[in-house]
Symmetry: C2
Subunit: 348 residues, 2 copies
């Protein structure tokens, strides 16, 4: 690994009391190119220029996928990553479906650890702030023909962040637009999945919501996921979340929460959820809680669900499952309880 | 419009007898930024660097769409564009669905004309070669949060090209993977649509095909389109092509061919086409011709269609409709017949 350090740190110019999401970048980034059929030497260097022309393949053909993860500083002051192997595996799943090369473990994980070690001063010690990490892979040949790229670039950039949503969110169950189809790329973190979601989301925002809940491609009858979060519902005594299909991103937060809830004795069902069932449960008061689960927003309480113009307020109990699970995750991340699953990977 | 000319032309270094598609670029490009809610002054300058960091929005969230069109040199030596207004309109349809700003007529069309005027020496006078033009629009803010960009960049780059496919093509009717869904972005030229298509196409290529024919998202029962081409079938006495939906790109070549065929007295049907119908027609000899229609490949004769392991050879008559329509389009483009539809827009 080649390492070129920044001449001067930008850290002192960052206002940690006022951190917009993903706008400030740490001093360094990792860059590694795949060329002539092989990964080249990874390089850590000052955050900066792409060095690409207007023919950059990914801008034209969207052969690009990303990951999102966070580094936390625990109460002992140590910096650790949350389940980074899962992000590595998932990026490679995205890469396969988008016909991009697999990123080797030593490039992704070793590069990541070294990068965070170098920029560790940027990781805040805080209940709601952390260092957001963005590993990503994109096609970097310079031609314009609708065929796969020959060159690819893997990079990791990092940004200190605060909370993603200011408070509880309102979501609209989408019944016109579609995010993903069976046989498509919905299970990947392909760049293109996000660009296609902005317009429907903007429509929902115009109507006073924060996000949409996507439904299935065929009949818009099944609940899928929401924005950049998987969905958990508490209906009666059960915690219910849609099963993983090729239309849903397999969230690492979702997996962690399902694991913890089951350990805590909750009855968690992963099964298809009909929109009609949710609306019915919301109407008759059986829908006791709803929340989104994702790296950026962590646990995001849903206070209102809209469907075809009707709006249902959902209880947001302060001592509900959402609060309990948010605290449970934070306890692990900040080192306040034993990390029995070995989810935290310490950085030197 | 700001214009900065290249110090030296690269034209003499290009081997026009050996033109790979989209690899060589002309001396200049057009670049125009949308910033603070307004389009800035367009600039024509030497082809080159993006000037972006690794936080470039489009690489992460795929808010990006492109167009493809060509300039031809007619027998009088004049350079003309084929139906450029259609590309402008279509880019703006893509832009709307991807929540990007509309590109003004004077930026797209006036910029395009000026750019081609400046680089007109690059346009070959040839039956199968032309200047491929790539207008495109992408999100160019520099942050990493899954929300729409604030800054956008419109650019036009150009590449002299030869034929896209070497000869007749073999296509596989896709019955597992999906390109587009109702309510999705299939009708746009979003970058992400192409990245998602490479893997299924690579599978088809492994099986000895050149391309896939996409089928509908719900049941894979209806024929949609193929690679970067719309599909035309000659079954019995009729010319049949799928109707335009929000899952199919509304090809300008398709529109032009449908128009010409009807003028020539052919019975052209735009209607849903079942896979079963095509297989049946191929089996009993009623499928007399099949071809793809698109800017890059123009008219691409299909010599074989595969479905679930079965392969059907399709007639490729030398004096068939495909040849006739290819010649018809070329006659207009190269100025050998009167341009009764005013499809050609001359460049100074
Ligand atoms: C579409 C989508 N769904 C769900 C998630 C949640 O996944 P994770 O918990 O791994 O962050 C994300 C990513 O953040 C996402 O982009
Ligand atoms: C998916 C797709 N279908 C069809 C076409 C044909 O469209 P046009 O004839 O406008 O080039 C294209 C573009 O080239 C395309 O990308």
């Amino acid at each position: 690994m080649k390492i070129t350090l920044a001449q001067q740190s930008n850290l002192e110019n960052i206002d940690y009391d006022n951190l917009p999401f993903g706008v400030n970048f740490t001093d360094h980034m990792l860059v590694c190119h795949f060329e002539n059929g092989a990964w080249q030497e990874p390089e850590i260097r000052p955050f900066g220029n792409l060095n690409a022309t207007f023919a950059l393949h990914a801008l034209h053909y969207g052969q690009a996928a990303f990951e999102g993860m966070k580094a936390y500083r625990n109460q002992e002051g140590e910096v650790a990553l949350f389940r980074p192997e899962r992000n590595w595996e998932r990026l490679n799943k995205s890469a396969e479906r988008l016909l991009m090369p697999q990123v080797p473990h030593e490039v992704f994980i070793d590069g990541l650890k070294k990068l965070i070690e170098i920029d560790q001063a940027w990781v805040p010690q805080d209940e709601v702030k952390s260092l957001y990490i963005r590993p990503y892979l994109f096609s970097s040949s310079e031609f314009i023909a609708a065929r796969p790229s020959e060159r690819y670039t893997f990079a990791i950039i990092c940004s200190p962040v605060g909370p993603y949503y200011a408070g509880a969110v309102k979501v609209k169950i989408e019944d016109v637009f579609t995010r993903a189809a069976s046989g498509g790329i919905g299970f990947t973190k392909a760049a293109g999945n996000y660009g296609g979601a902005f317009y429907p989301t903007a429509k929902a925002i115009e109507e006073g919501y924060n996000q949409v809940i996507w439904t299935d491609h065929a009949n818009h009858e099944l609940i899928e996921e929401s924005g950049t979060m998987n969905i958990m519902l508490r209906i009666g005594d059960k915690m219910i979340t849609p099963p993983l299909t090729d239309r849903i991103l397999a969230g690492i937060t979702r997996d962690s929460i399902v694991t913890l809830l089951r350990e805590w004795g909750h009855d968690v069902e992963e099964r298809p959820i009909k929109v009609a069932e949710v609306v019915e449960a919301a109407r008759n008061g059986e829908l006791k809680e709803a929340f989104g689960m994702g790296t950026a927003a962590v646990v995001s309480v849903i206070q209102q669900i809209g469907f075809k113009g009707e709006r249902f307020d959902i209880p947001t109990p302060e001592d509900g499952i959402a609060s309990k699970i948010r605290k449970g995750l934070n306890d692990i991340r900040l080192g306040r309880v034993e990390d029995t699953h070995n989810w935290m990977v310490k950085v030197k």
